[in-house]
Amino acid sequence: MNRCSLHAAALGLALCAGLSADHASAYCRMTTEGGAQVGERPCVEKGAPLVWSNSCLSYAVDRRGSQWFENPDGTPNLAEVEALVDQSFFAWAEADCGGSPPNLIFQPLEASTCRRAEFKTDGNVNTIAFLDPWKDPCAGANEPGYDAFALAVTVVWHNTSTGQILDADMMINDRLAGRSNAGGPYADCPDAGCPPGNPGPADLRSIVTHEAGHFIGIGHSDIVDATMFASAERTSVEKRTLTQDDIDAVCDIYPPGNLDQSCNAAPLCGLQLNCETDAEGLPIACDTSPGSSASCGNDGGGGCSASGAMHAPGDTWGSLLLALLGLTLLRRRSARRAARS
C-alpha cells in the first residue's frame, strides 16, 4: 500500500470515526454541512467532519505583523507576534492525551507575504495575517469585506465530500476597535488579565488559540470553560489554556501517533510563502475562478491525488523545486526557533 493509499484509508477511518462519534463530550466538530453546533441543538451530524489527513502542519505569520506589536523604533515586532502565535498553536499540539501528545505537529515557517485567504493549485501557505483595512486585498472597492464586528476569521478550505482540510488561513482584524467595528488593540496580557482601556487591549493568544481550534477542525463546545465555548464566558486570558473538553477534542480527532518534527509539513500543492508578488516582484493576479482550481502538481505533506492524473514534466519539476524549497524553509525556521528557545 503506497502512502496515498494509506492516507486514503486513514482518512476513511477518520470519517467513519467522526460520523459515529460518541457525543458524550461537549465539543463538536466542524463538518462539511455546517449549521448549528451548540446551544439548544446538538452537534451537526450531517456531512463529513473536517480533518487534516496529514496532521503535520505548517503555518506562517504575514511579515507585516500587527500594528499593535511594534519595536521601540516603530518597526513591526514580528518576532513577538510569531512567538504568541506559536504558543497558541502549540497549546493544541502539546495537549496531554493520557501521557502522549496528539498526533499533531505544527512547524512554523518563515514569515509569509500573504494576506489572502485562498487555496490555489500552484502553491499555498497557511497564513496568519492582520488586516487593516478589514477586507481581503483582492476584494473590489465596492465589495464588502469581512464583517465589521468580527475580530478574527479562520477560513478552512476543505473537500466537500470527504471533509479533508486542504488549507487554512487565519485573518485577524487589525483596526482600532470603535463604536461601529471590532478590532484591536491586542496585547500579550498578563495572567491577571488585560489592563483596562478604551478600548482596552484584547489578549491575542486567547483569540489565536480559539481560532487554532477551528484551524484543526474543532467546532464550538457547550462547556462554558472550554477554549472552544461559543462565547467568552471567562476573562480575557483564560481561553489560552485548554480545558479537558478541548483536550478531548484534539485527542479524539488526532489520537497519539508517531509523527515527529521531521515530518513533511509542506502545504498541499506546494509551499508558496508569497501569494502577492512573483519572483520578479510583479503582482500576482487575484484568482477569480476558484471553481476551476481543482488540480495541482504537488500534494505537499497534506494529501493525495483524487484523480491520479500526471502533470506535464515541466510542471512536475517545478513542483519538485517548490517542495524542496519548502523543506529548506521549514528546516531553517525550525532551526531558528530551536536556537531561540
Binding site: G34, G35, N54, F149, V155, N198, A230, T288, S305
Partner: protein, 200 residues
C-alpha cells in the same frame, strides 16, 4: 488510531510531486465576533425587514471567494426603503457552485420558504445588503406551541465584547432566548423610533 508517517528525507516531496489533486474544495470559517445587543443591532442596521426567503443563488466574488445572494420578499418593513419595494437582496459570504462549496461559519444560512427578521447594513454602492454582525443579524421565525417565536442565528459564532475595563468577556447577544415575534417586533419598532436616525 490514525497514523500518518511521512517518508524520510526527500521521499515525501518526491512522491508528492508525482501526484496531482482533483478535489472539490470549500472553505469554512470559525469567527470571533463582537456580540451586539438588540439596541446595537438596530442602531447599526440601515434596513430591518421581516420577510420570507424566496431563493438563494451563489456567485464568484471579485476576491475569488464565493458569495450567495438571498432574495427575500418583504412582509413588514421596520426600517428602510420605499414602501413599494417588495423584495430585498441579502448577501452572505460563502456558497456552492457545482462541487465547489465555500462555507463560512458565523455567516447566516437561509432556507427557501422560511420567515426571517433581518437586520441589514448598506455598504454604499454595493448592490446587496449584508447582515449586521454576521449571523447575529438574522433571526428565524418559528411556530412553537402555536405561537410565532423568534430565535437568533448564532451558528458558528463566538460572541465576545469588551467590558468596561476593556477586557473581552462573554456576550449573550441580542436574543439569548426565543421570544414571541409580536413582542420583539414591537420592541424593535420602539427602538427604531427612539433612534435619532428613525425609520428613514
Amino acid at each position: 488510531m490514525l497514523r500518518f508517517k511521512s517518508p524520510p528525507g526527500l521521499m515525501g516531496p518526491l512522491l508528492a510531486a508525482l501526484f496531482v489533486v482533483g478535489l472539490p474544495a470549500s472553505p469554512a470559517d470559525g469567527s470571533i465576533v463582537q456580540g451586539l445587543d438588540l439596541q446595537e443591532l438596530v442602531a447599526h442596521a440601515d434596513r430591518i425587514v421581516l420577510g420570507r426567503v424566496l431563493f438563494s443563488e451563489s456567485f464568484v466574488r471579485g476576491d475569488g471567494q464565493l458569495g450567495t445572494w438571498h432574495r427575500i420578499e418583504v412582509e413588514r418593513e421596520l426600517r428602510g426603503q420605499a414602501p413599494d419595494e417588495r423584495e430585498v437582496i441579502v448577501e452572505t459570504i460563502g456558497g456552492r457552485m457545482g462541487d465547489l462549496a465555500m462555507r463560512v461559519e458565523g455567516e447566516p444560512s437561509f432556507s427557501v420558504g422560511e420567515r426571517v427578521l433581518v437586520f441589514m447594513r448598506d455598504d454604499g454602492l454595493y448592490a446587496a445588503f449584508r447582515p449586521v454582525g454576521m449571523g447575529q443579524g438574522v433571526m428565524r421565525v418559528r411556530m412553537e406551541q402555536g405561537v410565532e417565536t423568534v430565535r437568533q442565528n448564532r451558528d458558528g459564532l463566538l460572541l465576545m465584547r469588551r467590558n468596561a475595563k476593556g477586557q473581552l468577556e462573554r456576550s449573550l447577544g441580542a436574543l439569548p432566548q426565543a421570544e414571541r415575534l409580536d413582542a420583539l417586533l414591537s420592541k424593535v419598532r420602539g427602538m427604531v423610533e427612539q433612534d435619532p436616525r428613525g425609520r428613514r
